[in-house]
Subunit: 205 residues, 2 copies
Amino acid sequence: MSSDSSEKMSAVKGAAAPIYFGPFLVTPQVTKYHQLPQVFYTTPLTYALVNLKPILPGHVLVSPRRVVPRVSDLTAAETSDLFLTVRRVGRMVERIHGASALNIAVQDGLNAGQSVPHVHCHIIPRKAADLDHRGGTDAIYDMLDGEEGDVGKVFREAGNSSSERAETRTRFPVVDDKDRKPRGPEDMKAEAEMLAREMEKEPVG
Amino acid sequence: MSSDSSEKMSAVKGAAAPIYFGPFLVTPQVTKYHQLPQVFYTTPLTYALVNLKPILPGHVLVSPRRVVPRVSDLTAAETSDLFLTVRRVGRMVERIHGASALNIAVQDGLNAGQSVPHVHCHIIPRKAADLDHRGGTDAIYDMLDGEEGDVGKVFREAGNSSSERAETRTRFPVVDDKDRKPRGPEDMKAEAEMLAREMEKEPVG
């Protein structure tokens, strides 16, 4: 292992084992499989990752380490740990983004709009009037479920394996926002490292 | 206590203490405060209740017994129990409604669209093409965040205490559905009792 990859790993405690988001390798320490340096927090059962194209600043995902499609596939321990991590990561992103609320959502299965067949919980920090220019508070859901929130598409665009899932799920009309571009790996790496440091400041309880 | 109220209580294990959804009393055993017979499942820390106006069949809510507005206000034990209950109730409503997926969503705070300042997790069973007539899979979010999904409005209409919260939160345009009427208390009581029986069939793990 090169010193460069060791350095990358140091930002993510306990991330020695490869971490998959559905079919996509997302751990930062391996570079030859087109994976993204997205993971910023891990527990033995759960991890949290940044997005290529967050629909609002601080939009992150929390997933179980084990690749299963449905919440009902999780063990009780995995379920508890997933949502304790959601609570802790949510508190952190709300704090660092100066937000006052969070949208927390799981599209649990294809017919609920799930794009990658691996349980993932969206956490989106919210502020007063943050989406007034997009139609109001609840425009977040159009964004989450339009092309902007398609985390599968994001991975496919980033050069990972393809999936026909996006074609089979029904989409809500996309809110147009041509000004926002997908970020580069360096941006995501910088955010993931910043979030990893911020997680260390969060109380465990 | 009359035999009638004892009979009502029998459908809800462990619901001897009054249960509040925000300012609204929702336990079935008291009738003089305009409360609704909505609670169908309780644990020492969590309860589940049916809706007056579900946005799809089987749409239910899961809340902590303790009245707090934010997920971050919950203890670790409350957080675990809440989402273990979400998993268990979700499995049940998916089964009895012949669904294939679930939308699971928490509007965590006013600026995320929360209508009643008490943590509540929406669980909505989904099927293929169930919302094709409303615009597709993700029309659920318009419904959740329009007037149809305003659980505060539902309680206010049912004769409970008023709140200015609905006026302060920004709304996404309402999907119009004049054909659906709020249900009567007897309908909700019958559903709550049916769901209470079905919960007893769910494995605990």
